[in-house]
Symmetry: C2
């Protein structure tokens, strides 16, 4: 086959797979937002069938023929596109799993999601036990089939962060753990200086949603190609770069979950909306990795919208949505309120300093699960022990402990480290951004976010998944993954917050 013809055929085949994959995402989004409760079983059948179809298309005769041709072309030392290389990688990976396992896993995750919801509502881990057991077994089987050098967990970690190993990650996390404990100790004597009372006033639901959507639009989220809905858990999903869905939740006595939920997910959404149009309906229209994806959400959520400059800009908007809530309040008051450091039970509500401890805890427990070093029934107790050790607090029930997160219910073992990777990447990028856009702090204070967004579009978003995370980071920062910039960032920031 001519190379041009090959590239066209590869793209066409990816188009079909991406369309079915998008349909699967619509079904999942619907399940999280609007689906009636009695439909869970039927929905599980549907997503399982789509997963099987995708797997068939990923591994069937057409895919094999195209992959063989790409390999032949490469062996002749001819160039193929980045998309063709992605196709070859994904084909090889897909071929490692038999269709029956894919179908079983899809159905098991769909049903586990329901049992997790019930278990969390009843705060009873035992209701989730069997589902989790099944998912650990299925994912361990998948890890064996994917293969790994050293640690079975790496095979799953690589699904989210290509190329990274637990062995590399462990010392990075160790340094971070030590620095975090030191920083927490240095904050402790000053903890009375910061109160989040300002965020805990009564903020009516409709106004919270309107305020959050307005600010998401200000930072650049395009509502012609996206929307926000309510869900139990904030997330961002996309059905193409032209249809990006965010969700959030509202607590009328805390502005944080809704507003920062929206901004965080909008950060993901800006990445999804920013892929080159040339990548539409291809395997390139995804983030470079979950860690890079998370760097985008955290850059906006933490670095930008938890800065003092941001609140200079945002306060008048807040006052217009909540006329009576912020009389006599200064931007610095809000800056301090949204940066209160306090060990807490719920990961998604944690501050920038303690957050990583939640991730390290999950990383350690996940590794044990996948390596068969802990009984599923013992997880709640293990969780309580680690919370005591790392943050000095213990959840009074499983809903606030091992049941709080959705991730294990969709079999996402290996996903959690992405959150901390995102923080580390964001700090590395932020150093470079301040260098490239010296007036960035003024821009933020004036609500001019287009320079920053343009920078992200140019250097990160447009490439989607056609560049590897390490390739992107080394090109932009000259360095590979480390915690130095992040530790530097939180030390300076929280010295200022607690000065």
């Amino acid at each position: 086959m001519e190379i041009n013809q090959l590239e066209i055929q590869v793209r066409k085949h990816m188009n079909m797979i991406c369309d079915v994959s998008a349909a699967t995402s619509v079904l999942s989004w619907d399940q999280e937002t609007y689906m009636p409760s009695g439909a869970a079983y039927a929905r599980a059948e549907q997503t399982s069938t789509l997963a099987a179809l995708i797997h068939q298309m990923m591994t069937g005769d057409t895919a094999k023929k195209l992959s063989d041709e790409i390999q032949d072309t490469l062996q002749q030392n001819k160039e193929v596109s980045a998309l063709a290389k992605l196709f070859l990688d994904d084909y090889s990976k897909a071929c490692k799993l038999p269709e029956e396992l894919v179908r079983k896993t899809s159905k098991a995750t769909s049903l586990a999601h329901e049992s997790w919801k019930n278990a969390r509502q009843a705060s009873d881990f035992s209701l989730f036990h069997n589902s989790l057991q099944e998912l650990v077994e299925l994912k361990s089987e998948a890890a064996e089939l994917y293969g790994y050098a050293q640690d079975r967990y790496d095979a799953l970690l690589n699904l989210y962060e290509p190329g990274l190993t637990a062995t590399e990650l462990t010392p990075v996390f160790q340094t971070l753990k030590t620095a975090t404990i030191e920083l927490l100790q240095s904050i402790e004597p000053h903890k009375e200086k910061v109160s989040d009372e300002l965020m805990l006033r009564r903020y009516p639901q409709e106004a919270q949603l309107a305020f959050s959507a307005q600010l998401a639009e200000k930072i650049g989220f395009n509502f012609e190609n996206g929307r926000i809905d309510l869900a139990a858990h904030p997330f961002c999903t996309s059905f193409s770069q032209y249809d990006v869905r965010l969700t959030t939740r509202v607590n009328e006595h805390d502005l944080g979950p809704c507003f920062y939920g929206v901004i965080h997910e909008a950060g993901h959404g800006l990445y999804e909306q920013g892929f080159s149009s040339d990548l539409a309906r291809t395997f390139g229209a995804e983030g470079a990795s979950m860690g890079i994806h998370e760097s985008q959400s955290l850059l906006w959520e933490n670095v930008i919208t938890r800065s003092e400059e941001f609140w200079h800009f945002a306060l008048p908007y807040l006052k217009s949505h909540f006329p009576d809530k912020a009389d006599g309040v200064t931007p610095r008051d809000f800056y301090k309120a949204v940066n209160k450091v306090q060990p807490s039970l719920i990961r998604v509500d944690a501050d920038e300093v303690t957050y990583n401890m939640h991730i390290i805890l999950r990383f350690e427990i996940e590794q044990m699960m996948i390596n068969g070093n802990v009984k599923i029934a013992d997880i709640p107790e293990l969780w309580r022990e680690k919370m005591q050790t790392y943050l000095g607090i213990v959840p009074e029930n499983d809903a606030k402990g091992a049941l709080q997160d959705i991730h294990w219910s969709f079999g996402g073992f290996g996903y959690f480290p992405s959150y901390t990777l995102g923080k580390l990447y964001a700090a590395m990028l932020w150093k470079r951004i301040r260098h490239d856009i010296p007036s960035i702090h003024n821009h933020i204070a004036n609500g001019e976010f287009s320079h920053l967004l343009q920078w992200l579009r140019t250097h990160i978003h447009q490439y989607g998944r056609t560049k590897k995370p390490s390739e992107l980071m080394i090109a932009l920062t000259g360095e590979s993954l480390n915690s130095t910039d992040f530790i530097d960032y939180i030390q300076h920031k929280f010295a200022d917050v607690y000065r």
Copy 2:
């Protein structure tokens, strides 16, 4: 293959097709309810890919093998299940269309839907012209491929009402037209006796939705397996009998569109929720025909909830949702207000008497389109002429004329007659129901709908599509399609309303 084995294989193959078909329905529902505007083109690609996949599964090697086996079995005079027969019918039908046509039609309808929305908003038929032209051509091509005895239109009519021809339908419609004109003339001198002012007071949106949902639940719609959302056009779609979605719209100065929109769609929804669980994920989990489906919505909407007895039951609920709106009002006042007869421009807002004139008009224009007897550009003018002749009024713009309905934008030529068939079937069924449940009028007045629902479940719903419409109607009424019962019903009802 053993017959048992064959039945299992057929069911398994239907399961996969039904799952993908359900996914397509989720994508369409989302497009109508929540999808951001900029996503239309990407969504069209996605639904087109799913349509192509369904077509491949309907006509591929597996389907061929199973169909051959069913045919062999039948030729040996052995029994096969009703589902296997449906599979054979649908296989034969699907094989008549090449995949390319299916894909093109799916994409064209997705895009036509957007251009129809724009055209209707701008009230400019020319914006819809090219899309409609393309759909007429694609559907005419499909009709030729399906084949027909006499009239090309029949091939499309049969997609909605299996076995019916335009030749049979024309005299039924003729009788109905004559009786309608006579009834309208007999009402004319008394028209001042009925006012709908009661429905045109200000009813706030949230309360309309709550009242409508409450009454939908009272008649038996199960919200564990369904929900109601807002959309430009009321419709009912289902992703399985466990997930039935209704939509409605709200005019705060008219209670009718929301309330009767919900009840009408809930009537469809009760049918969908009532299929035997044995039919889940099979070709049997559909209505017997569009006409039978419509008989279910219209029975609830017109016969039940536009009766005087119903308003005896419903008025206290209405008063609780709208405390100040119905002081001193009697059930008979509401009964009259919701049965005002008046020629009007919009089909979905028409009363029971004039409604069929809207359908006959569309039936005549559709036939001309599909038979190539009218230029697309001339449709708005033809519409105005027929409105003048049949109802004595003329739309002042296309939005209130030929652009008012969604149906042609999804290529649904042959669909419109179903609405009037539904009225005729509903009246035929109603005669039998009054015979079988003599105290039905008391039940309605007391809000006891379970006997009626049980009757419908037993005699109609459970069978889904495993019985043909004529088979169902003859078994239940001893008669084939006619307009006698309906004419009798409207003559008596409106003599009472206008007495």
